[in-house]
Symmetry: C2
């Protein structure tokens, strides 16, 4: 059975989601990507309800095996961090209510897994997503791309943290995985060539 | 119809709840008080689910008109602030799903409303709760007492912030309300005495 991951980039104005299916080897295919929005003009209760309903609909539609959520830190951006934490609580609860496993990844773990550097910028992540998922263009807005990156991190890394070396490079990055897959494919071609 | 308030002091290990009914004038009567717990040995998903189920049961049991929740600030205590925010998000969502109005009060608004000082300690709050709600002993643990104080703040102050003067004293504190009620009762006795 194919492992399906829902990645969530928690946010109150735009909550990114991205659904990926694990492919053969370490490939992955895009199932769905987008954002659930709530209006800044509404109160926090209506906004959390809107985000909850949107995420709930995506969980019901895609029935993921795992929900992977970006871990929020309080030192990041104090003005929005509390509402981001509230949305992450809602996302975790929605998964828990359905008995779906959850996983949390920090932003630098996600960057490291997808680009090979824990300090990669948004553009590098988008470039890697386009390449790895064979997309025509980067997913937009950035929150949607981030959610896909979180899902990809989960597919490759599982629940454990990505280990970084001293320079902030991941021990096993998406680039390394990609390179390994190309090497493996080349070996397969070469071995089939030599066999016939 | 009596206004009923559920106060919530969000927390992952102990989430305090307190239910009060508005009485005549500015009195209030205790309906229920306690804490919903989750085990620190469980994962965040199971813990949020336990807290959610516990709060949900209290909302269903008491059918409050308003759910008043302590507003969490990211600068308070960074080690627990994210999980506290997640629990507050869950409490807000439970109210919103049932169309119950929510209100948020900061810790200093609650202290000011109940004791007259935005810098009161826990003991002062508990002493005022015993006096105002005619209890035999302070509600325990502290999270339960805090939830009652939040509910009381909501009964007296409504959704707006309590205004503090330069010395951190509330313009209208519980003590002032209490004194006013006593004055009013004295006036009533005096006027009935002079009438007969």
């Amino acid at each position: 059975m194919t492992l399906r991951v829902l990645g969530v980039d928690p946010g109150l104005t735009r909550c990114g989601y991205g659904v990926l299916d694990a492919g053969s080897g370490r490939s992955a295919s895009l199932v769905d990507v987008g954002v659930v929005r709530s209006s800044p003009e509404d109160g926090i209760d209506l906004r959390l309800l809107e985000i909850s309903r949107g995420l709930e609909a995506k969980i019901e539609e895609h029935a993921p095996d795992v929900v992977a959520i970006e871990r929020v830190f309080s030192q990041n951006n104090t003005s929005t961090v509390m509402s981001t934490a509230q949305v992450s609580g809602v996302a975790i609860l929605l998964a828990a209510q359905r008995g779906i496993r959850i996983a949390m990844h920090t932003p630098s773990e996600v960057k490291a897994a997808v680009t090979g550097s824990g300090r990669a910028d948004k553009k590098q992540i988008q470039t890697m997503l386009v390449k790895l998922l064979k997309l025509d263009a980067p997913p937009k807005p950035a929150d949607a791309a981030d959610a896909l990156a979180i899902a990809l991190t989960q597919l490759w890394r599982g629940p454990g943290p990505v280990r970084l070396d001293g320079a902030g490079r991941a021990r096993t990055s998406a680039q390394a995985v990609w390179a390994e897959a190309e090497r493996s494919a080349r070996r397969a071609r070469e071995s089939s060539t030599s066999r016939f």
